[in-house]
Amino acid sequence: MNRFVFALPLILCASLAAADSPRRLSIAEQAASLQQNLGLIRSVVGNSLSLAREEDRLKRADACSKTAADLCREIQHAADAGDSARAAELALHLRKLLTQGVSSILKDAHKDIPPGVSDEQRLREIQERTVNELRSLEEHLPASSTSDDLDLTIHRVREGRVEVEKAVVWPKNETEK
């Protein structure tokens, strides 16, 4: 009995130590993740090469927007398959891409483009296409009450969409056209 009682603090310390060390994916889990995410990795690396190559801000925004669309499709697939944890993980990447990629490139591009030129129209098309893609994803995701991860997914997608909407605010009469 005494030995058991003396072992308890050791068990407690071991639990504290275990609670402090983050779990990492095993090699087998990483291999499974690679199989699942290869399409996305290809898309993101392709986008990276475009971003490295292109000086044209509109082309850079367009490349980021296409990767965002790929992420939206994967999030939808994950949610449809009931894998809400994966949907939340991908939504985190999507939000980063939208806020630090699409949105900031759109802002910079808008500063450089004089009003009324054709580039402005292209800029607007890229923004609208991205926002529409995100709205469509938000509408098609399952009801949020079913899981915390799904709530998180919807929240992240919405935050990203709001950032893209705020990147360039068009005058009201132009928006109505």
């Binding site: 009682v5 308890l8 068990i11 071991a14 609670a19 993740s33 995410n37 190559r53």
Partner: protein, 287 residues
């Protein structure tokens, strides 16, 4: 004092034969408690006579060696009290005295507090404390990231590739782009080597192809747009990294069957081509 209180007091006492004044007073007036106390004293005395199982062989051997061990010479500043035990063995008593006094000082206060509770209550408290600690440990383990019930961590390769992409989106200079592309190439070749035994051959080949693409269409192409002074500053280091990646892939490929080594061979080829092209650019820049 009533009978129940007296029973509790005697059960909690280490010497039920030594009576305090109030216990004696009650016993004088209560025949049933006198009989109960006599039985308890009888029981306590006989418990000490119960046979004890012999110590395990390992423990007995340890005690024998400990007693028979030769003493180390003591330093003069140590105060030594030695006493003879069974006429043969000498024990360094001062060490035991020091240990005992340390133990006594650490136990004195809790012991006094504990003695205020009867033995059954102490056992219950100990059991409750033990159960609480176990429950706490279990709770910590369940909620820890290492637990079986913890959510699966994110894919490190995807997370890292996205981070590189965002750095490229924010990059303001060609040198920043080349450096980020070199980091991206490292991620891709590192993952290919890590997963070479566990991944699907097609997936690994696709990863190696991406590495080749990043080196050829990313690093080498962008390196050409760097000003000569930036080329001199950056390209030597990146070329060295490519050489190291090629060598590591080659070492790994040597111990694998030819069919499994195909993705590593792509990495070796891409790294060596990349290194050659970067060094050519460096030479051109110098001349």
């Amino acid at each position: 004092m009533n009978c129940e209180a007296l029973h509790s007091r005697l059960l909690g006492s280490e010497r039920p034969d030594r009576l305090t004044a109030d216990v004696s007073a009650h016993l004088k007036t209560c025949a049933a408690c006198r009989k109960w106390q006599r039985r308890l004293v009888h029981l306590e005395r006989n418990v000490a006579l119960l046979p004890v199982a012999p110590a395990p062989r390992g423990k007995a051997e340890f005690v024998r060696q400990f007693i028979a061990a030769e003493l180390e010479p003591l330093s003069p500043e140590c105060e030594v009290f030695s006493e003879s035990t069974n006429g043969v063995t000498t024990i360094q008593v001062w060490k035991f005295e020091k240990l005992a006094s340390a133990l006594r000082s650490s136990l004195r206060v809790p012991r006094a507090t504990l003695n205020a509770f009867p033995a059954p209550a102490r056992r219950r408290i100990a059991a409750v404390l033990a159960a609480s600690l176990l429950l706490l440990a279990f709770g910590l383990w369940i909620n820890s990231p290492t637990s079986l019930f913890a959510p699966k961590p994110p894919d490190p390769l995807l997370a890292s590739v996205v981070e590189r992409d965002l750095r490229l989106a924010a990059a303001k200079s060609p040198s920043e782009r080349v450096e980020t592309l070199a980091d991206l190439a490292d991620d891709l070749q590192g993952s290919t080597r890590t997963l070479i035994d566990a991944g699907q051959p097609d997936d690994l080949k696709a990863l190696a192809d991406l590495y080749e693409q990043v080196v050829r269409d990313g690093i080498v192409l962008q390196a050409k747009s760097l000003p000569p002074e930036e080329q001199a500053r950056l390209l030597e280091g990146i070329a060295d990294r490519l050489v190291a990646a090629g060598d590591e892939a080659e070492n790994r490929a040597k111990v694998l069957p030819e069919s499994s080594a195909a993705p590593l061979n792509i990495i070796i080829r891409a790294a060596r081509d990349g290194d050659r092209n970067l060094r050519k650019l460096l030479r051109e820049g110098r001349s």
